[in-house]
Subunit: 721 residues, 2 copies
């Protein structure tokens, strides 16, 4: 783990080519540092001016006496290498490289970028960028950036950067700093810092996230990503964040064709597989958001509110109609809006007029805003009275207030009582306004630790994400799942090679590791096939075996339900002839003779190797469920039995495993155990296996287990076709 | 159709119990009228004061000389009837009844409300309310309401009501007026009027919508609904709106258990079936929204922008990262972000720097905001230059600008050129800002006819809804679908009665109307069963026939694949015994002997009668698709063949009909024709049929038709169980 303290809290900053022209990029950076009253030592390097903004300059970085914590470089791409080498030899610890013209501009730029990486490795001077918009340490008020969001002289007062617990790490400088502005105006968010990671020649997003996890001033981390430079590090960084109870809220761009094309064009980033990122985020407890509004909503909620223990929401409303809308939004999102118990309703009736309602939503009606309250000293207002009853109701996990906050009057009268109420509250309490909230209302809410949301859907979604995070923490997220793996008996050493296996070889390998397969034998000629069928007994299936014919069913390479010896013999000959017709050069191992399995519910289980996150398991109901309905669940390995069960429950068609329409319940336990066993097997074999496909697996009735009907295993060491 | 002109444009208003105390409800209404300088005659009725706010009062409404267009009533519920009768006999044309204490307060209140309805019917005086927050004719600046949104002395300048083309009809007064405020602040929306419909004792939501469709100042209608009083009127009103090109954007509340409970509790409204409303909205071309943000977004887009002709979006961005995010959002929403053709890219390259991009998204980079433009007189700026190229590109149907509008500088420089560009544009052009937009930016955009959106997801969703509306208009919405029905040959008169039919009777009825069913005969004893089987030939199915055993398969009342006479005989006896065991009093008609159908893809087609919208057809793939995956499509009758095909295409599993995994393509044409025929049959029978279930229907390969394997028909005239 890199210590980035000197980068963000520099005791000295050197600027190469300093300028006093605030319309230039370098001039602006300097201007912002002076504007914010930077307290460390400022070294200005200039060959043109002896003095800039009242500070004496030096001619080269080598003339600087004393330590250089951070050097700022914004020179032409082709000059960057020389400048950075000079800075490194002058002893600079960190360089922030704003220059563009690197990987985002093609092959020559990529070579230049690789050189920057080498300089960092060779000299130990760590580099942020190139093509970065810089950073802003808000806690320390150190702006090292040219973006106008950092310009205190520009923009509205509400958009100005304020201190607080939210940090932003962004691969897009424009988006990262814009998100600060949006969060400040919409939710009054305060920040600890914002970092634009640029092209990440050296320091990468996860270095910054890791630093922020250890930063006492940061409680929520927003991560805007196109692609991780080192995806393999995500697990450890995320586990550390989870251990600290600091949620990472991530947006991943470049998910679609057009998005990926754009990411490649502006930052030369290949955006990886969205399935892989999605599985990794879920597994590592990272909250993935849909859009920037949701990101700000979650930042507000997580930085201000306790987490919910469950999904039961109490709604208090000043408008019947708006209460209905909120109740709909919560239930449609999977939250509960339960009827309140009699004691609670009775307690509420002291505060709710006859034309209101004490069921849930609790309709206190517009009287709350029309009638002045607190006229009698010490009297509890209907609003705070109602809230207190809901706070004490054990049947509720969260409270939502629906009110028209288009002016500040409603809340102003209640401020002191509300603040006292909020300070003692142990449940999330979110405020929603159906009109546009006034600035006074918003600032009042923020000042007492509440957040206000502008849509019913966003309230429901925020509560759901808080609940998801709360459950992830309770489950121990990533760390726990691995610990729960049931380690099997002693296993043989991984095979030396795998290559491209036929079904019979794949099954044989699986049997070596304790998997149970149907009884089956390879027949190399018709007589062997007949003998095998007789030894197995009953009807058998025959399947052609050749590494070149992996999709046997599609190729008509499977014949089912053969019993009589002459039919087995004829089938053998037919399959061999077929194989030769399909591929004259195919390496035909023979025909697999297999017992006919009792019918079961068809599932498919697969493992593929994601280029970023390594092996991932997929499970789905067989046939159309996977291919037409795309009803599959993914998880990164390891997949323990509890994780496997959770995957199965995510399937839309899960009810089929539970048994519907007179069908029996299936052996879900055995299925989950098979998935765990497969996970262990693939991990045991290390990098050797690139793909496994158990398809179909028959899942029998409860207690009757599962059967691997067909299996395919591809080694990472197979010959390219 | 009611003429509501005098209600909204009253030449005289009488207020019962007028008050000069602006802290009371009646005082506020008067205050707002005076505040807005109401130009008509104001009659104040008061027994306490000879003069109020400088106007001489009268003692009773009968003393008023001249016409009374609108009388305002806000008295205690138990006094309302007498007051309204007096107003009616004084010749008032309309009453706005603010009083509460009616259906929302239980049975006694409901009786009072029914009395109000009678007064309207008997006297011809039309009533808005009771329990209404009133209306605000914004075009005419006539506020007849007590809601503070109408109070010009309160709230921020941005939230004030402005004139414009958007109208709001809301069953919730709180929500309706709050939506105006939200729309004004977020999108600078101007309004023609806002109506709170209250409990709708007399005038109902659709009366107001109908009025607004005919109102020249209204171009977009927002409808906030819990339940329609007369759902049957929706079709005609919606068709008139579509003919006028005026979109109706509707939110329907009370969709969930908690939501419906709340709607019942605050306005005594039963919220109907959400499936029915959803089907009705779709069929009648009404755009349904998710939340209030989407409602305002659509109001802004529809009131300002031309409609798109297709789904191809061109994105121009000043931030690479934000462009990636927008491209993702568009593609995830089903829009296309196509690569631009060579000529367009070449034309763009004049405006895009080397580190930008001319593919789509077009990245003009932050230079647009940093470098001053127009320094050279008459030179086209990169922003407007790029936009003009995209506007001329035939491969794009809409343009989205992504920019950081946290201050107004970027756009201010370009205002004149942008305005000229927008005035000539024939495609939608939506603006998105990744930071929070400044007021100056927003007002500049609004002043030149553009709207600004705060999330990528909302931009994509808005474009999608505009496209959907554009396509609905092109398809002729509701009117067209009925016209395209293929009227069949002459049909027998509808049956006199239906009751509860057994399968064989249902099929016989269907055959009368030209439906083709498998060969089948009812057998009343075992010998008849054997004879029937022999006459049909081959294997047959036997099915128990009793109106009390409608779910034969679940009851084991079906036996398949019987050929030998003794097996048919045994099966007959077994089924009869089973039926008697199941229900000793069952009316057992016998056993249906049916030819074994060739296997086909199983579908289910049903018709049920929605209490609000009448008969609705459901279609889905058989078995788990319906029961587990809930993969069904609904439409109101009539279902023509094109509508049927559209329903099938909405199914997630539609690919199964097209043929996947080596399965043949199915006879989709024959299936759609069957659906159309069923629609005609049910409509032909009028109200007589309450439910039809064709399940399964086997769909054979292309050209080989469909077969109704089982059928159930329930008459509306059946005995209740």
């Amino acid at each position: 783990m890199s210590d980035l303290t000197s980068l963000f809290w520099p005791s000295s900053i050197a600027m190469i080519g300093a300028s006093d022209d605030a319309s230039t990029l370098r001039g602006r950076i300097l201007d912002f540092l002076i504007q914010r009253n930077y307290q460390g030592k400022l070294h200005l390097v200039s060959t043109n001016h002896a003095q800039i903004r009242g500070i004496r300059t030096v001619g080269t970085v080598r003339e600087i006496i004393g330590t250089i914590d951070v050097v700022l470089v914004a020179v032409r791409a082709d000059l960057t290498e020389a400048v950075l080498r000079e800075c490194a030899s002058a002893g600079a610890k960190f360089a922030v490289c704003f220059s563009s013209g690197f990987a985002e501009e093609g092959d020559a730029g990529r070579v230049r970028q690789d050189t920057l990486a080498s300089i960092a490795r060779e000299t130990g001077m760590r580099i942020c960028g190139p093509n970065t918009a810089g950073y802003f340490n808000v806690t320390g008020m150190v702006p090292v950036t040219f973006t106008r969001s950092a310009d205190a002289s520009r923009g509205s007062p509400e958009g100005q950067v304020r201190r607080g617990p939210v940090a932003i790490v962004s691969q897009s400088g424009g988006l990262g700093f814009a998100l600060q502005h949006r969060g400040a105006v919409q939710h009054g968010l305060g920040f600890s810092g914002i970092v634009s990671t640029g092209n990440e020649a050296d320091l990468e997003s996860l270095d910054f996230v890791e630093h922020l996890v250890g930063d006492a001033d940061t409680r929520v981390i927003l991560l805007l990503l196109e692609a991780l430079k080192n995806p393999a590090r995500l697990r450890e960084v995320a586990a550390r964040a989870a251990a600290g109870g600091k949620p990472i809220i991530a947006a991943k761009f470049g998910r679609t064709t057009a998005g990926a094309r754009a990411a490649d064009s502006h930052a030369a980033r290949l955006t990886g597989s969205d399935t892989g990122y999605d599985a990794a985020f879920r597994r590592y407890g990272i909250l993935r958001v849909e859009d920037e509004e949701e990101m700000c909503d979650l930042a507000a909620a997580f930085s201000r509110s306790p987490l919910p223990a469950g999904n039961r929401v109490g709604i208090i409303t000043t408008s019947g109609g708006a209460g209905v809308w909120m109740a709909d939004a919560c239930e449609l999102a999977g939250l509960e809006v339960p009827l309140l118990d009699d004691a609670t309703q009775k307690a509420l009736s002291a505060f709710v007029p006859s034309y209101g309602s004490t069921v849930n939503p609790v309709d206190v009606t517009a009287q709350v805003s029309i009638n002045p309250v607190g006229a009698v000293e010490g009297q509890v207002s209907p609003l705070v009275g109602t809230l207190s009853v809901l706070a004490q109701c054990d049947g509720l996990d969260a409270i939502v207030l629906v009110a028209n906050l288009s002016d500040g009057d409603v809340l102003l009268r209640e401020k002191a009582a509300l603040a006292a109420f909020v300070s003692k509250l142990k449940k999330p309490f979110l405020v929603y306004t159906h009109a546009q909230a006034s600035r006074e209302s918003l600032e009042l809410l923020w000042s007492i630790g509440l957040s206000c949301f502008g849509s019913t859907r966003r309230v429901a979604r925020t509560l759901n994400m808080m609940l998801a995070y709360s459950r992830m923490l309770a489950d121990g997220v990533a760390a726990g799942t691995a610990a729960q793996m049931q380690r099997g008996e002693a296993r043989p050493a991984p095979p030396a090679k795998i290559g491209e296996l036929c079904e019979y070889q794949a099954k044989s390998l699986l049997r070596d590791y304790g998997f149970v397969t149907p009884r089956e034998m390879l027949a190399r000629n018709a007589s062997e096939a007949v003998a095998a069928a007789q030894s197995i007994g009953g009807a058998v299936a025959l399947k052609i075996q050749s590494p070149q014919i992996q999709h046997k069913t599609d190729a008509d390479g499977v014949m089912l339900g053969l019993a009589a010896p002459d039919r087995v013999r004829a089938a053998f000959d037919e399959l061999m002839a077929l194989a030769r017709r399909l591929d004259a050069n195919a390496d035909i191992h023979g025909v697999l003779v297999q017992e006919m399995a009792a019918p079961g519910l068809e599932m498919a289980i697969g493992v593929v190797r994601d280029p970023d996150f390594g092996p991932m398991m997929m499970v789905g109901l067989g046939g159309i469920h996977i291919e037409v309905l795309k009803d599959v669940a993914w998880e990164l390995l390891p997949v323990s039995k509890p994780v496997a069960l959770a995957m199965l429950k995510r399937l839309r068609g899960y009810a089929l495993l539970e048994g519907v329409r007179g069908q029996p319940a299936r052996d879900v336990d055995a299925l989950a155990e098979l998935m765990e066993k497969l996970s262990e097997f693939v991990e045991h074999c290390g990098d050797l296996i690139s793909e496994v496909d158990l398809n179909p697996v028959f899942v029998h009735e409860q207690g009757k287990g599962v059967q691997i009907i067909d299996a395919m295993i591809l080694g990472s060491d197979r010959e390219p076709r």
